[in-house]
Symmetry: C2
Subunit: 342 residues, 2 copies
């Protein structure tokens, strides 16, 4: 007969990090990575292979970075709770990517084999669930200090799932409206960026009003970034970028440049819907989308969100924080062409 | 341009139920169902179809029942927080079932089409994630009153995911040891039953020591129930039960009666491993498992867990609670033959 695993779990992991201590911003991302690895690798032997594999992939940790900037105080330090929060957010993001790969049957992720292709589909579904739970456990650790904020976090995550469902529902929908498209990316990327900035501000001790302003900045950065990212695929003159557009078209992912081009040239819809596009047809579609002004119109939209984010960032009092936010806004919206950032 | 969904989510759903009020036990399960339906159906239009479908299925609400019994006070009332906790636990269970059906490619669930067969695999993966989030949001609502307990809950959920991973890992493993089998069911069914009883006790205001005793009772009921459930499939002389055994064998699910039978007759392993068993071969395997004493040995093991649960239940002071616990123990371990209880 064997022991009650649940009872063991009550006893384990009682130790709380000292949430009150602070770390200078320059070292903070390193600490986030350490905490992520510690959390993922401090686990049952059974899942260790999968967790090791996940720690090998290198994401850009954008969400963690935003949370850390938002949590930074005037002296350039971030509290320990923000390190935990940032690690939790990246693990949440990782969970959604593992499930995304199940959904899309993706072979690779972050330059490595995806969990589903390396370990199996069943394992990937449960691994995602496991990562969700680990994320919530970390959030729970912080939340005892912010009991009234915790529900906001879970509600935001719920919205993010709804955003994903909406995206799936509209796949292959060549009649997708601009508004619906914006709602989809608002619910996914922008909601997660917004959550990162809001959480950072709360953990950094900001009042609710400031935290909401940071949430708004995160939201607009997310919108600008996602649209710019979709445009970049059309503009970059590399085989890699073309591959992304091709994958999107094959999977029925409708992006903003395409929606604008459909408005100008409805005949394009049929072209996109035809199966097994060859290289020449692909190039033709890409050329037509650019020619119809789809990319430049989408870039205009991205720019509108960029300006909204910029305006709010410029009113941030702390110079150091302002500069770091402008830096990330510029990096994500302009200089990242042709590189998918996940 | 569109609004920040995250900010809206901060404002929504601020209202807290009155967690201090109580409800008499007889009405409490009805309240749990009401709260589940309210939570599931109060949602975005986009997922309403799926949520409506989920509310049509009738589960046995075993986990909710255990939580409610455990939370019941001497006057036979349960606190409002236990209603929320029980609803959250059933939604968590629902989330794992939706993902289980993706993993097993299951056509039906609770007498209805599974989410994956009716709405699609992609939708089912995200629906499971969404239900996880809703569960956590409900837990967060309660946890502001029990900040130091919340991490226990998330750690227990993490263990449950690990149990599922372990189960997948050992599928088709005809060399699975008795110990490994017990560890698998301990991590799944028994861990969730244990969590239900522990949470109920905490929400009912019991001290930690009593809550742990209830957790132990839940664990032993879970072990006894799961093993008895596996035995029932072999014993029930109905086509339905044979179908369950056949499905288990086809999917490589190794149960305790089978493990015992393998010990007595290792040649049986090869028989089980052969693909596409016909009805005659199936009957032969079932007969052999019974003949080798696999079922009666497994029943002995179930009985040992039954006795452990019984011993602890008999030392529960409150007569009403004691009777309700004995009732559920007897129902789950003995009188439910041939009926899968999910």
């Amino acid at each position: 007969m064997i022991d009650n695993e649940f009872e063991k779990s009550i006893d384990s992991d009682r130790s709380m990090s000292d949430v009150q201590s602070t770390i200078d911003f320059a070292s903070s991302m390193g600490e986030v990575t350490k905490q992520m690895n510690k959390t993922l690798l401090h686990t049952d032997e059974m899942v260790l292979d999968i967790m090791r594999h996940l720690t090998l992939g290198t994401g850009k940790n954008l969400r963690a970075l935003m949370l850390l900037i938002s949590a930074m105080d005037a002296a350039g330090n971030v509290p320990q709770s923000a390190i935990t929060g940032a690690a939790a957010l990246e693990i949440l993001h990782m969970a959604t990517l593992v499930h995304d790969d199940v959904i899309d049957d993706a072979e690779t992720r972050r330059g490595l084999a995806s969990v589903q292709s390396k370990f199996g589909k069943k394992e990937a579904v449960i691994t995602g669930d496991y990562l969700f739970c680990r994320c919530f456990a970390m959030v729970a650790e912080i939340s005892s200090h912010y009991p009234d904020k915790f529900k906001d976090f879970t509600m935001a995550m719920t919205k993010i799932c709804l955003g994903e469902l909406q995206e799936i529902k509209h796949q292959t929908d060549t009649d997708l409206s601009i508004r619906s498209y914006l709602k989809i990316i608002a619910g996914k990327t922008a909601a997660l960026f917004s959550l990162a900035m809001y959480t950072g501000a709360i953990l950094g001790g900001d009042p609710e009003k400031t935290a909401r302003k940071m949430a708004k900045i995160g939201f607009h950065i997310g919108m600008s970034f996602q649209i710019a990212d979709d445009c970049a695929d059309y503009e970059a003159d590399t085989e890699k970028a073309k591959k992304t557009v091709k994958r999107d078209l094959t999977e029925g992912v409708i992006t903003l440049p395409l929606i604008y081009a459909f408005h100008k040239n409805p005949a394009l819809k049929e072209q996109v819907q035809s199966q097994n596009l060859n290289a020449a047809e692909m190039n033709e579609i890409i050329h037509e989308v650019i020619h119809m002004g789809g990319v430049s119109m989408a870039e205009n939209m991205a720019d509108r969100y960029f300006k909204k984010a910029e305006k709010d960032i410029l009113s941030v009092q702390d110079l150091n924080k302002r500069e770091k936010l402008m830096e990330i806004l510029n990096k994500l919206s302009k200089n990242d062409k042709g590189q998918k950032s996940k």
